[in-house]
Every structure is written in C-alpha cells, then in structure tokens.
C-alpha cells in the first residue's frame, strides 16, 4: 500500500484499455442511433446509480484542453454535480465552468441546458433506466430480441392504456422516442420539455448507464419522434402563463421551491423558477443591466 496520502491516478481515473473499450462502444452507438450498446462498465469510487455511466463516458472522451460543466437538475451547485465535478477535476485537471456556452463537454443528470448547444459541444447524459421496453418486458434477453425485430407493439398498447386510464401518456420522464426511424429509445429522466430538443440538434448526445452497462447515442441532425397518437399528441409540461419568478422567462422548464418569508402566515410561499440556474442567472444579470441603463 502506498504511504502517500493521495494516490496518483491515470488521467481520467480509468485505465487506458478501459477508455478504449468505452470509446469503441461510443463509436458503435453513434453508428446505430438509439440502440443500446453493452459495455463492461468499471466500478468507480461513486455509487452505482449516481452517474457512473455518464462519468465513464466523460472519462473516456475528455482531453486536457476540454472545458467541463457538470449539472444535476440543471444546477451546477447541486451536491451530486459538485461531487462528480470534484472527481473529474481531481483526476484530469481540466478547466470547469458553469456557463453552458463556454463548455466543450457537459455532463448532466435530468436536464438538457436551456441554451442551444453548438456543434463543438458534447452533452453526456447520466442514465438510470436504459430500456423503454422495461415497462412492458423486464426480461433483458427477450427485450433485446424485441429491439432487434422492431417489435414495439406492446409498448404502443401500454401507451394507449395510459391515455385511456389517465387521460395523458402516463410517462412523465424517460419518455420513449423512435430514433432515426428505427430504434425505440428511453430519453433518460429528462422531462418531456427536453425531449424534442434532441431532435435534429447541432450537438452530439451520448447516454451512459453504468449500472445497466449500456451506452447509446443520438447523433446531430437525427430525427426523434416521441410515441404519440394522431388524436392524442405528445405534450410537454408547458402550462400557459408560466413564468420564472426570478428572471421572468416564460419559455423554460420551471421547478417549484419554498421561499421563507416570516411575514407570510405559512412562514413562506411556493414559487417557480428556472431549473437551469446558469441560464437564469445570466438573464437576471441582463435584466439588471437593462434596468440600470436608462439612469
């Protein structure tokens, strides 16, 4: 055992052959848009289910001159985002940023940043559940065959039943889509809000599931069709009149939170604001500058 307090790890933590394996599977995932490609998936010093798939993709692709952004729920300062960024920074030394437009690699859980991503950027998504067919066929061997044969009938029945019973397609996040007209893909726990932002985008999207040991990809300019019926179209979470209490954005994904207010009879009140805090902060800053300008 080493007597030095901190060990010296390989650049990007995992060893070079492990990186090669992830790299090979990423290339295959791109050549097969939406298809789940198995990979060996190393054990990391982060628990399974906490972003080990996204981490391994980032570790395999990252270079010393990259600029990295890590978010969770759209937030850079979220505890889990902080923790993953800390591991990546300590084992690569790359520059990190909270600004979406300044990053070359963005690793994320649950959100796609609000600001449109460019062709020189890669979004790495952490995936908990890989297979949309899991809802109807938990057995991996059979689900793999169903994907191979484009046998998606049972999923359509599931969607139909949910419309009849719940009045909406019951799946809130992990919404199933058809990628490039062939594979049915789980969109990770991103809200419906973000689903169509995968469609014909400029950036490359890489999905990593460490515990489930799968990698999949949506290349740029690839069609994404959410599962929907002619008389029952796919809807996002958008509610008419929604507005961010902080920056005033009307066209962004909002989450609710409690604001402490001692004057209020309930000790505070609930309000909605952008889940993408970097986007929101920028807008708050611009609003403030605009207000100051006339003086």
């Amino acid at each position: 055992m080493s007597t030095t307090p901190e060990q010296l790890y390989n650049f990007g933590f995992i060893d070079e052959d492990s990186k090669r394996e992830v790299r090979r599977q990423i290339l295959k995932a791109i050549a097969l848009p939406g298809h789940q490609v198995p990979f060996a998936s190393r054990d990391l010093p982060i628990a399974r289910g906490w972003g080990t798939g996204g981490l391994q993709i980032t570790m395999a692709i990252i270079a010393a001159d990259d600029t990295l952004k890590v978010i969770d729920q759209g937030v850079d300062e979220c505890v889990n985002a902080v923790n993953l960024r800390r591991l990546l920074q300590r084992t690569t030394g790359v520059t990190t940023t909270v600004d979406t437009t300044a990053a070359s690699i963005i690793q994320t859980r649950h959100r796609i940043p609000e600001e449109p991503m460019r062709r020189d950027q890669i979004l790495v998504l952490q995936v908990p559940m890989v297979d949309p067919l899991r809802w109807v066929e938990p057995n991996l061997e059979r689900a793999t065959i169903m994907h191979g044969e484009s046998d998606y009938g049972r999923m359509w029945v599931y969607m139909y039943e949910s419309v009849v019973k719940a009045g909406d397609l019951r799946i809130a996040t992990q919404y199933p889509v058809i990628v490039a007209g062939r594979y049915m893909m789980d969109t990770t726990p991103i809200p419906r809000w973000d689903v169509m932002r995968l469609h014909n985008a400029e950036a490359l999207f890489l999905f990593g599931a460490g515990r489930e040991k799968r990698i999949y990809a949506v290349p740029p300019y690839t069609t994404i069709e959410p599962l929907q019926f002619e008389d029952f179209r796919f809807k996002t979470e958008f509610v008419a009149g929604q507005i961010c209490a902080r920056c005033g954005a009307q066209d962004a994904f909002l989450t609710s939170h409690f604001v402490v207010d001692s004057d209020h009879p309930d000790g505070g009140h609930w309000r909605s604001s952008c889940s993408d805090t970097s986007f929101c902060d920028k807008r708050v800053l611009v609003n403030a500058t605009n207000q100051e300008a006339p003086k």
């Binding site: 650049f11 090669r20 290339l27 295959k28 270079a63 990809a217």
Partner: protein, 212 residues
C-alpha cells in the same frame, strides 16, 4: 483543489486526440477531420508487393492503435488480399496494441492499405440483429480527401440535409463495395477513410452515399 493524476503520455494524448477526431467524424459523416501526426512512431512499416515496397499510410495505420487492445481482433489487407497473421506488419501492430490477430470474418477492426482492398469488405462481420454493435469497423487508406472537388453526396443521421465530399484516387467500384455492407440495417460495417495527409471522413452504416 489538489489534482491527483499522472499527465498523459505522448501516445495517450495521440490516442485521445485521434479518438475525438473519429468521434466527430462518425457523428457527422462527411465532415473532414484531421488525424494528428503520430510522431511517437519514428519507423512506419512497409510491405512488399510485386517486389515493390509499399509504405503504410501512417495516419490510417496508427489511428487503429487508438482503439485496439487485448480484447480486440484485428486483420489487414493490401492489394485485395488478406495479409498473413504471422507477417512482420501484423507483428508490428500486435506489439504496439496487444491486440489479437484474426481472420477477416472474426475481426472487430481491419485496416485496408488501399481502396482496391475494399472488394473484401463484404467478407467482414456485420453483427447480428440482436447485437449489431458486434460488427467490424474498417479503416481504409485513400489517396486524397477534400471538400473543394466533391465526388460523393452523403445523407443520413448526423447530416443536415446532405453533405458533399471529395474522395479521390479510389477504385471505381469503391462506393459499390461500401454500399454492399449496408443493405440490411441495423447490420453493417462502419468505415473510416483516411488520406495521405491524415484527412479523415467516417461512413457509419447509416450513411447513404451517392456519386455526384
């Protein structure tokens, strides 16, 4: 914050940079990437055909090394013939990558020294319906790639509408040979073409090619 990593070696940096070029090219078929100079390999091997020594395309040959390791099976061909596993040139690759040498139908990666060998593409493993990713990736050395004199029009995922690219000096049947490997999606061979200057384009199996 303390950093606790070893700076990557020259070869590791080459592999990462090369992979990022391949990644970008594979995600955007027809986009021309630049493979970095493999300066850590001072001696680039040659093979002899008809008593003529042929020098390998150093960019194409070494870019294979960025993906090969002990888990991968590799083969190479020149002049439309598979090169014997015991040959010098295969030993060269094996010593530097630890890969296993294999026959064509079982190879995960192949390097084709020239476009004439594209006639062998149909022998490669296209994967299966349930595991289409267990298919071969072919690196092909071509004389020249540019975007100023387009020869092909590409369509498919990764391309905004269409993309025109010029691949010059290849055998007349090249596009046919490539197209034969992708008649049965999701089965297929993914192909990377690299020219003498390290200019690179990728033709994943989703990419449709037509002659201009």
């Amino acid at each position: 914050m303390t950093t606790t990593f070893q700076p990557p070696s020259l070869f590791e940096t080459f592999c990462t940079t090369t992979f990022r070029v391949l990644l970008d090219c594979m995600a955007r078929p027809g986009t021309i990437g630049q493979i970095p100079e493999p300066s850590m390999f001072t001696q680039i091997p040659t093979i002899t055909f008809d008593n003529q020594p042929i020098l390998a395309n150093r960019f194409a040959l070494t870019s294979c090394l960025s993906l090969l390791d002990q888990e991968t099976r590799f083969a190479q061909a020149a002049n439309n013939t598979w090169i014997d596993a015991q040959s010098e040139i295969n030993r060269w690759i094996q010593l530097r990558s630890n890969c296993r040498l294999s026959d064509a139908p079982n190879a995960l990666f192949v390097y084709l020294w020239d476009s004439a060998s594209s006639a062998l593409l149909h022998e490669l493993n296209p994967g299966t319906l349930t595991f289409p990713e267990q298919s071969c990736t072919a690196f092909v050395a071509v004389p020249e790639i540019n975007d100023t004199e387009p020869t092909w029009r590409l369509r498919g995922p990764g391309i905004n509408g269409h993309c025109d690219v010029g691949v010059h000096g290849v055998v007349a049947d090249f596009v046919n040979h490539v197209n034969i490997t992708r008649t049965n999606f999701p089965l297929g061979i993914d192909i990377v073409c690299i020219d003498a200057h390290g200019k690179c384009i990728a033709l994943p199996r989703t990419c449709q090619i037509s002659l201009k």
